[in-house]
Symmetry: C2
Subunit: 371 residues, 2 copies
């Protein structure tokens, strides 16, 4: 059924460029409704009793923000009664109803989020999401061949990995699962295996590595506005106009110089860097800044792991590893469970492999993949 | 959106030949849901405020006969509140929900029936159904050029005309309109005009013609089982097996002969006549009937009009008219507001034109079409 949302959107746009959101939801929600009916038929054909439900039918109550609604509450009574009768319950994702019974859709990330919300409402042992990958790896197996499939990962680590580019699960569903403490398992639709379990608890094994995985983002660009005055609100004056133009700003660092001036540096997607530069040129003029410098060939590499909290020396080991490879670090940012560095793009693979090896994340080459 | 139901049905049949009816309804109901959303967008684009609702959202309560449900009740409160706010209410036809909130579809004739049911629930002044014809004519304008568009017709007449082949409205919706006394107007989607109003009351004008219109059916075949014993239940023994084979039996006449034997004659669709003949041959043998005669070249012509009740001599005028054209009548059947004759198919146009003229149904050729 892939492509159905595009087909429906095209129908709407034949009529108006910006379709009424309420009606857009009535329209788009039919896509999943078709799917649940067909899935139930397929189950019935294989001899299972199955029953489909739209979001409205199981009262997935949302707010009334059409096309980007958020789930408030789910009434699990209908589902429970069906399950007690031995029926498989198939619920349409991505949709709900507001207080007045209007159909809403959840927007981006809504399908996985529905699954998690249903698991929470049903107090399920686990929510399993079948995708096109076997689970979450220590890093991208395309870059590091020995990348290891993680048996478990914490919600926090998963959130950091997701937003950093390990595109396994819709981030919104991970947040939701973390909030409601729903154990979430990612598995492959196409291959056998137990996938990766995303849990609340940190691995308790003392021998566990401090690092869960290495995430990276290509196609970044770095912008520096040099010599802005060191006054309150200056960061907002620089970053604000860029954000307001719809450009997503990632890593931000600010260095106050001894002479009372400031450099503000941040990264954006490379595709948006020219537009950002243009905006900043105007900003720089009005702020009487020295110059705006654009570096289009950088990338970001991040170590993620809740173990960082208890393991000292992760950062210094990271910097040492990169130094040994003669990789210059341009920006460093840290959070409680993540260290990110911005480096020249051409060193991306080298950096990821060196770090993966330095932190012993890979499968031993002689060892059979356990998974 | 035409062809959508076929597309969805094909999807289901890729999975199973006889899809589960409950899931079939979940699937098929999406067709109208797409349409109502798009219609509302088109209205909004033209500057009208509009709001779409699925059958479930306005609580079109039906029985639980999936794929052929019947409407039991409609809760008009949501619609009334929308209308009071000045919004156009667009409701999905062809669908509802049962007592347990399962989605149902109404099957054949369900869309027009929904419209009538909504009008009844809202106590509307009139239910207007836009079709591809200008309204109901005294007979088929393709056969009789002077056929006149009727300004009004009664439910009873419409029912007789519908079932006889004037395919203007789904008969089920006319029955429903008659039952709930909803004035029903048929209009053209493509041409201006006030169409035909289907009402409860007979035209009160004394000068009104007794006949509302002339209906006809081509492609009929006549079957006679000659010489069956004249005993109770014989008609069922002959007709029963044909009906049970799914063949629709139309006009039925039985003539008891003086010698205690019987001829049973009836008509079927020509396409099904060979199959019917085969069944009857077996029946005839077991009943020791003389023979089974199949005539594949007959048609049926019917005069319809509530005026027949008060106007004498309609039947004799009809027979006289046909006799003057040398048309032999093979079967005659009558009801309170209808006289049907079965004649040779080659006389169909001649008979319809002669009767149309004899009963003064046409527009005077000099007169401008008033409509």
């Amino acid at each position: 059924m892939s492509g159905e949302t595009n087909r429906l959107t095209a129908l709407a746009q034949e009529i108006m460029e910006h379709p009424v959101p309420r009606e857009m939801d009535v329209l788009l929600s039919t896509g999943e409704q078709v799917t649940i009916a067909l899935l139930c038929m397929a189950l019935e054909k294989r001899g299972y009793r199955a029953c489909s439900f739209t979001g409205g039918q199981v009262r997935i109550l949302t707010d009334d923000s059409h096309t980007k609604a958020r789930i408030r509450e789910i009434d699990s009574s209908t589902m429970r009664s069906q399950i007690e009768q031995g029926n498989i319950v198939v619920v349409a994702g991505f949709q709900g109803v507001d207080d007045n019974g209007n159909i809403t859709t959840l927007g981006r990330g809504g399908s996985d989020t529905t699954a998690v919300a249903l698991a929470a409402a049903l107090e399920a042992d686990e929510c399993q999401i079948f995708t096109d990958v076997k689970g979450v790896y220590t890093t991208d197996p395309k870059v590091v061949e020995s990348a290891k499939l993680l048996k478990t990962i914490t919600f926090e680590e998963m959130l950091e990995l997701s937003s950093l580019g390990a595109k396994v699960l819709q981030i919104r569903s991970v947040e939701f699962a973390g909030k409601y403490k729903v154990p979430l398992r990612v598995l492959s639709t196409f291959e056998e295996g137990s996938g990766t379990l995303i849990t609340l608890e940190e691995e308790t094994d003392m021998e566990d590595p401090a690092i869960a995985g290495i995430a990276f983002e290509r196609d970044e660009a770095k912008l520096t506005v040099a010599g802005v005055p060191d006054v309150p609100g200056i960061a907002y004056k620089v970053i604000g106009p860029v954000s307001e133009a719809g450009i997503e700003v990632d890593v931000i660092v600010q260095n106050a110089a001894a002479d009372g001036s400031n450099d503000i540096t941040f990264t954006v997607k490379r595709a948006e860097s020219d537009k950002a530069k243009e905006i900043l040129d105007t900003v720089a003029t009005s702020l009487k800044a020295n110059e705006v410098i654009l570096d289009r060939k950088i990338c970001k590499v991040s170590l993620v792991g809740v173990g960082m909290r208890s393991h000292a020396g992760i950062a210094s080991k990271m910097f040492k590893t990169l130094a040994e490879e003669n990789i210059n670090i341009e920006i460093i940012t840290t959070s409680e469970i993540k260290i990110s560095v911005v480096i020249e793009e051409r060193y991306l693979e080298l950096a990821v492999r060196a770090l993966h090896s330095a932190f012993d994340l890979g499968e031993a080459s002689s060892e059979k993949v356990s998974e």
